[in-house]
Subunit: 218 residues, 2 copies
DNA sequence: CGGCATCCGTGACGATACTG
DNA sequence: CAGTATCGTCACGGATGCCG
């Protein structure tokens, strides 16, 4: 028996058949930052029950959006990772985040917060302020760092990734340091990159063209 | 008591709090084509139960995404219509439709079909083939016509509307005539606008620059 | 007739406990 | 660590009824 479907010959309805169930797109959001273990997913999706998470991951795997892989040879742990088709959902998450940012407001007392949840909005804020910026920008937030992968020629490319840039081949071209409140203001559009820099709520470090461009951005 | 929320300080999660429930985004899809009565919505959303439709519409109204209005003075019927904020969800539907078109395939025997469900994919196909096209293109499908509102300067503008262009002020600059199978092939990316025209599966009528541009499109 | 509200059976969801 | 098992609750889908 197939999963519950809208049974409509409509591209949007088909997409919702695949990713419209509760929690599914938030799982994709987590995996957009990079491969994750089951326990990590469970920790960064507060409120999801274990059985729902397991069943969503199975559905995503059956639909070819997620792959289960064992990272090392002898490890009995494994990672969940987006397939190319799964990664193509980033524009959907980006559109949702852009719309939702309009009245994001302040965090409510009951709201969970994770640093990488700011990645999509910050990517948008940076692109808006410096449309031609290219390279890797490491974002340092109190809760942990991530990287924005800026490529003006490929707006639907990888976009961002988790963690610091440790690999020498992937050394960041610029480092942005800010706090959660500034990230929230940037995400909600209450602040532009240039204004945040001018008010010293955000610092841009680096000697590359990207760093210069981000410092000069309005 | 508020509705069930993900309780995450994340723009995408907030968006899903508002429009992530079953049927909600499909209701928005219907209203993107223009105002609708309750019964019309129910007819074009096969499978939705009456109480769910009524409750979704109330939620959308409470969230400021939909307005209830009485069209005429003495009519006891009323229309549901998107607010500006509701209309800003079109990029979300467009992203979902673009992703879902990848494996839209052929209609299944159980699939419902409505002409205006092709509007978002056709808008994308036309924009891809003729990025600079501007004006109103009436699309004539066997199930009924609708209009694509092309404005290269405002990709997130109205986009499309229901029905023929009756208003003289809104007379179409071009008329596209095709059948459902051609629309499906265009939506799924199996066919480009130019190829459809070349194979005479689609005709472009009109003497305006827009009509000429659509005929010349690759 | 359009616009719901009510009732009811089923399945999805959420919390907790338990297992390989 | 990575799930499965169990169970109570709630949301959903279908049918029917009410009311202007």
């Amino acid at each position: 028996m197939p999963r519950r479907s809208y049974a409509q010959y409509c591209a949007a309805a088909r997409a919702l058949d695949a990713v419209g169930e509760r929690w599914t797109l938030l799982i994709v959001r987590e995996l957009l930052a990079g491969p994750r273990r089951y326990t990590d997913l469970h920790a960064d999706l507060p409120g999801v029950s274990t059985d729902v998470l397991a069943s969503r991951l199975k559905e995503l795997e059956a639909d070819g959006l997620v792959e289960r892989r064992r990272p090392g040879r002898a490890a009995n742990t494994h990672h969940y990772e987006l397939t190319p088709r799964g990664r193509r959902l980033r524009p959907v998450l980006a559109a949702l985040a852009a719309w939702g940012a309009d009245d994001l407001g302040e965090p409510r007392p009951t709201d969970a917060v994770r640093s990488h949840w700011f990645a999509l909005p910050l990517l948008r804020a940076v692109r808006r302020a410096a449309p031609q910026a290219a390279g890797t920008a490491e974002v340092r937030l109190p809760g942990g760092p991530f990287r924005l992968l800026l490529d003006p020629d490929d707006p639907d490319g990888p976009g961002y990734a988790d963690g610091p840039a440790e690999d020498t081949a992937d050394r960041p071209d610029a480092v942005l340091t800010l706090d959660d409140a500034t990230a929230a203001d940037l995400a909600a559009g209450r602040l532009t990159l240039g204004a945040a820099t001018a008010r010293e709520r955000l610092t841009v470090d680096g000697t590359t063209p990207l760093a210069a461009a981000l410092r000069a951005a309005g």
